[in-house]
Symmetry: C2
Subunit: 477 residues, 2 copies
């Protein structure tokens, strides 16, 4: 059974839980919570609720549990898989945006605690001001929230060195489906005591509870950063280069991004003056960082010198200034913004073994060229993680509804290619609602049973983000 509207009695009970300021039930007030950043999805909700404290989240969940009312937890709403946007209606959105304080920064122990709704950039800035680094770095960092980063196990450009959100999280505080609070924040670096419950919630996309607080690891702020932009003849060469870089640059590589030259044009949509520093079919943005005591410039220059001499790299520009390094990153960031500006496009987030990257790109390009002529393939991504965003732009003249219909076929074909190589259809963006069917269909029966058993164990009534990640089930008793 689906609830179609909230009765005045229920609305008033909800106001009792989160206060009048915490409730929006009119279309205008709800609008900004019901559309995603990329403009791909529009959602519905009975109301958008914005609790201002852990106690309010608990009161709200106790009420929802009593009513059998399903909730969609929402962070900065920058996800790309419709994990926080539900189009069916009958649910309430719970936005964490009012719970946005940094609770504590402990520079002696390199830890930080924050409310779930704290914006990632706010955390990064606060750390930087204290000579620390919180290394999670992604395009949406100005809007995404740390609770959402945890719930979706966010990735980004620094995963190679520092790991996914999962690897950076020391503790979580979570309100469960029945309103109970689980406090798993303890300030310790090492605590091997039974089931590591936080792991359940990381990457569970709001389907097991509402994360209200997060504790993360910090790192010393690197004193030195060196950035280079390289040209190579092929993706094979890029993979070989990465392997050499791993061996020769110790653990100091913080990013190794690969960009097919066809992507550069997109960055020009954002800044028409954009010019790649090299002209080569495959381009690599590599960044190293370290403390002051290491001659990082010599390390990178020596490595690149050898790579140029051996012919592995055909062209290399080592940034001579911070401004030049920024201009390299502007290309990488501009191509993402540029493709968003083009409107609807096929967006993927594939991963394969690093050594299979060239095969993935080659097969994907061939597939698009043969089966979908006129569509424009773009290959870029976090090569050091085996993660390629192989995206495809529809022909400019195609009407959007036609492009979307055809785009679904393009996506299906690309998924087949990745899976055929033993890869994943979700390297970092998650499953949400948009990839749920493709994801679920590929799981073994045993895997499905385990997922369902966990879901039932922690959310027996199916109230938490129904329709996300797992197949939809009845959410109202």
């Amino acid at each position: 059974m689906t609830v179609h509207r909230l009765s005045p009695e229920i609305l008033s009970a909800i106001e009792g839980a989160v206060g009048q300021n915490g409730v929006a039930a009119d279309p205008a007030g709800m609008a900004k919570y019901l559309g995603d950043w990329a403009g791909d999805y529009r959602g519905n909700a009975l109301a958008v609720l914005r609790p201002a404290s852990v106690a309010e989240v608990q009161a709200l969940m106790r009420l929802c549990n009593e009513l059998g009312l399903g909730v969609v937890p929402q962070g900065g709403n920058t996800g790309l898989v419709s994990g926080a946007i539900d189009s069916k209606g009958g649910l309430v959105v719970v936005s964490l945006e009012r719970m946005n304080a940094i609770r504590q920064i402990d520079t002696e122990n390199f830890t930080l605690q924050a409310d779930a709704g704290c914006v990632l950039q706010t955390i990064k800035d606060a750390c930087e001001a204290r000579d620390c680094l919180f290394p999670l770095a992604l395009g949406a960092q100005g809007s995404c929230q740390i609770g959402g980063n945890a719930a979706t196990n966010a990735g980004g450009v620094n995963v190679l060195r520092y790991g996914m959100a999962r690897d950076l999280i020391l503790g979580l505080e979570v309100v469960l489906a029945d309103g109970e609070l689980w406090n798993g924040i303890c300030g310790l670096r090492k605590n091997n005591s039974g089931y590591d419950l936080k792991q359940l919630f990381i990457g569970s996309e709001g389907t097991l509870g509402i994360i209200t607080g997060v504790e993360v690891k910090l790192f010393p702020k690197p004193a030195k950063t060196e950035t280079a932009y390289l040209g190579l003849a092929s993706f094979e060469a890029a993979v070989t280069l990465f392997n050499r870089a791993r061996r020769e640059c110790s653990d100091l590589i913080s990013a190794f991004e690969i960009i097919g030259s066809e992507c550069i044009e997109l960055a020009r949509l954002i800044d028409p003056g954009t010019r790649a520093p090299v002209s080569a079919p495959v381009q690599v943005l590599v960044e190293l960082s370290s403390s002051a005591a290491i001659d990082l410039n010599a390390l990178l220059a020596g490595f690149l010198g050898d790579a140029l001499e051996s012919g592995l790299v055909t062209d290399a520009v080592l940034a001579a200034s911070t401004a030049q390094a920024r201009s390299f990153w502007a290309i990488r960031e501009g191509l993402v913004e540029g493709q968003a500006k083009r409107g609807y496009h096929v967006r993927t987030d594939l991963s394969v073994k690093i050594s299979d990257i060239p095969a993935l790109i080659e097969q994907a390009r061939r597939f698009v060229a043969y089966d979908h002529p006129g569509w424009i393939p773009l290959a870029y991504g976090h090569a050091g993680d085996g993660n390629i965003h192989f995206n495809v732009l529809p022909p400019a003249e195609l009407a959007e509804h036609e492009a979307r219909a055809r785009g679904a076929e393009v996506i299906a074909g690309l998924y087949e290619i990745a899976v055929g190589l033993g890869g994943s259809i979700s390297a970092e963006h998650g499953i949400g609602r948009s990839r749920r069917q493709e994801f679920w269909a590929r799981l073994s029966p045993t895997h499905r049973r385990m997922v369902a058993a966990l879901k039932s164990a922690l959310d027996p009534k199916g109230l938490m983000n129904p329709g996300c990640l797992l197949p939809e089930t009845e959410t109202f008793r």
Copy 2:
């Protein structure tokens, strides 16, 4: 209901599952599986079963599930908390020792797959021969098995740089309580696709399934290693030094071990010629490693020069040869072996915030001196993780049974001190049976309910390692 013996029919069914060679039910054949490495525990079992393949583990678990027969999964039996030793009887031990092959080493993608029963040292050696590093490093590495490392989330001396076993594991293969196989090995570095099921089994100490295969991350073998042995005036100084080292040595510190000078005598029980390279109340063993392109010797020498000049370090010896570096490590390893040679002693595995290490040690020493005069406190551990093994030797003249009774009081007191500082009673060794009560008593009701819900979800009959980690429940229908 507890089974007291296996009927001939059941024994024959078990032989059908794992073969005659896979069954030992006589005291002599079972002996080596029923005592732990440290000699602290003696166990009982109806039989010790040694399947030789994943299919045999499945057949065995199907049978146990049918019979309602509880199993104790066992790796190298080097754990310190009686996780693989059960004294009650009525259970079968399932040893993975016959499943000991390395399945694959992929040096291009820096991954390795192995059977659960493969000995850690075998894996480390195979990696080294291929110029790779598998960084998990602990005293028991010559006997412990990778499946046990995964099941207990093993720690060790390289956690600081490379993380716990959890951080090194890319995939697991697990036979569930009902004999179903879950294959979570995929060869990918990045795969953010729904609940990360492997996280459940890592650190679950055999209570949710039997790990049969493990996939781990490898690293390039460091070309350079620099080791130094330092003397300091206090634990406060050691914590300050660690903080500086983190900032100044980038991410190249692979170990930062702290040793109270009172521990040196123990190393002499193993090698009477042992002499600490420095004479100071607090001693630190620091190791850095990197690729060939970094002047690691200059980095460490420069850092130590500053630390000496500022008076933070009172004495420092930078190893001039591999042999000298080994001699430093021999002190660290010898003190562990030496205390084992002393027979029964209080062994702890406490963690606190790094900045609380001095308070932990001071309070613990004061407690022992006042409440247990004559007992000899020893403080050493992985300071960079906030993990101190604060152990206490009984007076030499005390009879063992008296020492054990008194030892329980000493442990309780030390746990109170750690918990009072917001710390953990299990930084890395796990809970097992020996810490189960202390652990469980300190959990919140919500935490307990979540643990129990997970246990029921995956092991509804309570067959997996009953009595370990969770309170004992009825294990036979």
